[in-house]
């Protein structure tokens, strides 16, 4: 979903290995520049999504350059100048961007100190850097980054070699520096792309078809408010006006006047599982390990089902576009502006050099929402109005119903064990649509309007990245436990009635839920404590560490059986290669399930900003609680019907669990990213807590009274 994805698909190259994204963006001046006025500008290709990445990257840069953090300016990514770091996703930004910036800044420091040494005769190893000043042992200031600022010094390729500080010497990276972007958001200052106001700008609202795949048949004439006008390109329909509320009112009128050639294209909601079982598919083996195993004393076979879910950003997707001559300039909150540009070249049938993209922050996206789609919407409308900036804002209904959804999933697990619960054999079969419909990866554009415009493109089915790139549906489908015989298969459904793509955690959410439920059930059958059962099946010390820590935080051994209360635990290493996280959940089973408390222990390797990491880990946990207790995309045969917060409810303040989260410090270890590691374990821990309280395994998502009643009927 990121460079890791690209490398997994394209393979490596012969160049000397450089850290993170520096390997593919090798010039130092792609990453930083010194301003004579006393600031350093860093120019990462990763973008702020509300996860705090720009602060962490600034900390890393300040650390290696030895300048105070307030001197750092982080320029948002834009084409063509910013390094191409593919997509800001997969909990990889510190690994890919952070390690590039660490290395680039360490080398920049060495270059500047070398010049100071050459000019003054003071040996370079004797020169200290103090907030950007180069200081001799006798206290003389020999110069500074600012006095020596010369772009030519950094107009060079980075070289291999480890110049970065040892962990023990870090003073800025590793501290809880406050977020650089948060003050503007707390004082209501313009910061989001939604807040952009360009001279002469017009507002547009899209009018969506009456059904998936429907085409616009006719549009009745009639007056529109506020001098609003109509944009139409094939079945892409919009209203635009100088005032935003006029565009909104005009779009509502157009929707009432439009008639569509529509047909049933979606499986009925109640029949989704049967549809998945019979849909065209592409099978693959994820991992297979044969072993002769004795006849099992215990066998568990469970099917876990999760419906489509969606991102639910609080701010709706938005973009501004201006067409000047043969060039379009777009401001948007895409997670990957170069990938988006690649799809815009296809959809707009124009060269990449004529498309300029700027990242401007949006609301949290939690994966691939409508951020890329709305950029094409804006570009299409702006093309019809040369010279006029066009701002498109999606409605709440569009955000919930027309952005990509995370695919419905079925995970079938069959496990065999000895009488004491010791695993012998495990098979896991994952079935879903692809988890990535991100732009920039295939021959066809994946953007919404690309399939609706005149002379448009068929919608390419979403893919699953290879496991080496993090995987999609198969993410975390390989259990972390010692088991002699193992078979993990994946089937990707190649028909795609609902557009699907990446949502925080991808397949890990369902796979971890499935694995940890079956482990729990095996422990229960063997009358073994679920903690002990897991610990003795885990060879990986860091997995055991987070699990033991979370259990200790929750005082797991001393938990009391209380009526209507359940406790459950779970552990996972995200992607099998990322951060470790364990969760303990306490739930109350009344008329509905309420998650009351969560205890989380995580190991994210080196922590650049502990408070920021904890914020991400807790945020992921609360979002996971919402996802598994409440969320399902509702639809009929024609459309998504859960297009408001009433029909797609998410967790509210009175239902939010109290969360205690801790990080296991590993300052010497490589950083692993914190953003997604807690979701799978939290969902699994909640499911296990439900089993603890009610004695029933919930195998259908969301964990609503209806689905729990169904599990009781099946039991």
């Amino acid at each position: 979903m990121n460079l890791a994805f690209r490398n997994a698909v394209q393979g490596g190259d012969d160049k000397p290995k450089l850290p993170g994204s520096l390997h593919v963006n090798r010039r130092l001046d792609q990453w930083l520049s010194i301003q004579p006025g006393g600031t350093v500008t860093i120019t990462p290709g990763k973008v702020e999504l509300g996860q705090g990445i720009i602060t962490a990257l600034a900390q890393i840069a300040a650390e290696e350059l030895d300048v105070a953090l307030p001197r750092l300016v982080v320029r948002p990514a834009s084409t063509p100048g910013s390094p191409d770091e593919a997509v800001t996703s997969g909990s990889l930004s510190v690994q890919e961007s952070g390690m590039a910036i660490r290395h680039a800044c360490a080398e920049a420091r060495a270059i500047f100190v070398g010049v100071a040494a050459q000019k003054t005769g003071v040996p370079r190893e004797d020169i200290a850097v103090q907030d950007g000043d180069f200081v001799a042992p006798d206290g003389r200031v020999l110069g500074s980054y600012w006095s020596m600022a010369d772009a030519a010094l950094l107009a060079v390729e980075a070289t291999p070699g480890d110049r970065a500080k040892p962990a023990s010497a870090r003073r800025i990276a590793g501290t809880s520096a406050p977020r650089l972007d948060l003050p503007a958001k707390i004082f209501g200052q313009p910061r989001f792309v939604h807040d952009m106001r360009l001279p002469g700008m017009m507002h547009a609202r899209m009018v969506r078809p009456a059904a998936r795949g429907a085409t616009l048949a006719a549009l009745r004439d009639g007056p529109l408010p506020g001098g609003a006008t109509i944009f139409r390109d094939g079945s892409v329909l919009a209203a635009l006006a100088t005032q935003e509320h006029h565009a909104e009112a005009a779009a509502a009128r157009l929707a009432a006047r439009a008639s569509w050639d529509a047909a049933d294209t979606l499986p009925e909601e109640h029949a989704i599982e049967a549809w998945m079982d019979s849909a065209p598919r592409e099978d693959s083996i994820v991992l297979e390990r044969s072993a002769e195993t004795p006849a099992p004393a215990r066998r568990i076979a469970r099917r876990f089902f999760r419906p489509f879910i969606t991102h639910g950003s609080i701010g709706t997707s938005c973009a501004v576009a201006t067409w000047t001559g043969d060039t379009v300039e777009i401001w948007c909150h895409s997670q990957g502006i170069y990938n988006l540009r690649a799809d815009l070249t296809k959809a707009l049938r124009m060269p990449a050099d004529n498309i300029i993209l700027h990242h401007v922050e949006g609301a949290g996206c939690y994966g691939h929402n409508g951020a890329d789609d709305v950029a094409l919407d804006a570009a299409l409308i702006a093309r019809a109005h040369p010279g006029t900036p066009i701002r498109v804002l999606w409605s709440r209904a569009e955000e919930l119903a027309w952005g990509p959804a995370s695919p419905a999933m079925i995970v079938d697990v069959a496990a065999e064990a000895e009488a004491d619960g010791t695993l012998l054999r495990w098979s896991q079969q994952v079935l879903s649509n692809g988890h990535s419909g991100r732009p920039g990866r295939g021959a066809l554009p994946t953007l919404l309007a690309a399939s609706m415009m005149a002379d448009g493109f068929p919608v390419p089915p979403a893919i699953n990245p290879p496991l080496a790139g993090g995987g999609g549906a198969q993410r975390n489908a390989v259990p972390p436990y010692r088991v002699p015989a193992l078979k993990v298969d994946m089937a990707r459904i190649t028909a795609m009635p609902l557009r699907t793509s990446a949502l925080r955690g991808l397949g890990a959410l369902v796979n971890v839920w499935a694995i940890e439920s079956v482990m729990d059930e095996l422990a229960a059958q063997a009358a073994e404590d679920p903690l002990a059962h897991r610990l003795r099946h885990l060879d990986d010390a860091r997995s055991r560490d987070v699990l033991s820590r979370a259990a200790r935080m929750a005082d797991w051994p001393n938990r009391q059986k209380r009526d209507g209360i359940g406790m459950g635990l779970a552990v996972s290493r995200y992607k099998g290669s990322g951060a470790w996280c364990a969760a303990v959940a306490e739930i109350e089973a009344g008329e509905r399930i309420r998650c009351k408390r969560l205890w989380l222990a995580a190991d994210v390797g080196e922590v650049v900003n502990p408070d920021g990491s904890l914020n991400q880990i807790e945020g992921g946990a609360i979002q996971a609680t919402s996802l598994c207790l409440l969320e399902a995309v509702r639809h009929d045969a024609r459309n998504v019907t859960s297009d408001s917060w009433e029909t797609y409810p998410i967790l509210r303040f009175t239902d939010v669990p109290r969360v205690q989260a801790e990080l296991i410090a590993r300052p010497e270890a490589p950083p692993l990213g914190a953003g997604e590691c807690s979701l799978g374990p939290v969902i699994a821990a909640i499911a296990n807590a439900i089993a603890d309280a009610l004695g029933v395994r919930v195998t259908r998502w969301p964990f609503t009274p209806e689905n729990i009643a169904r599990a009781m009927d099946d039991a």
Binding site: K185, I186, H245, G364, G619, G620, S644
Partner: protein
């Protein structure tokens, strides 16, 4: 066609129809973008403002309704130079992630602290229940409101 009212303490006249949502007046002709569009249906709280000190959803409220009245937006709550205790506390506790929900939450919390200067945690949760946060910053937000209450209390 103009609606006159007091906005963050200053007299303004918005050239907009009476029926236009107040949100459109604020973000459009009045140029204050701190008030957010989230759902247009009073279901998320992102657009919350105060009208004569009472919470109101600016996404559905007609501009004409506030004629002659006093409207407070997040920009009127405080500034970096003179922050409201809530803004101080939210910064201290880094209570937010993407921040899109915060304008409405800050205004709602200001009403809570005005009416109930020493709220319990459950009071804060109940007061903020009409507001959605998708990033999962809820517990930090709750702690920040309680911290702001403590700042506002005599020692």
């Amino acid at each position: 066609m103009s609606v006159s009212f007091t906005l963050n303490g200053a007299a303004v006249a918005a050239p907009i129809e009476d029926e236009a949502p107040l949100l459109a007046a604020l973000r459009g002709p009045l140029g204050l973008s701190g008030t957010r569009y989230g759902c247009g249906a009073e279901q998320c709280g992102a657009c919350l403002v105060l009208v004569d000190g009472q919470p109101a959803y600016s996404c559905t409220l007609h501009s004409g309704v506030v004629a002659g009245r006093s409207v407070t937006t997040v920009e009127g709550l405080g500034t970096p130079e003179a922050p409201h205790p809530l803004q101080t506390a939210f910064l201290e506790l880094q209570a937010g992630q993407c921040g899109f929900c915060l304008s409405g939450i800050l205004l709602r919390a200001s009403v809570l602290l005005r009416d109930k200067p020493a709220p319990t945690e459950d009071d804060v949760r109940a007061a903020l229940d009409p507001h959605l946060c998708r990033c999962g910053s809820h517990n930090r937000i709750i702690r920040a409101v309680l911290r702001a209450a403590a700042i506002g209390q005599p020692a």
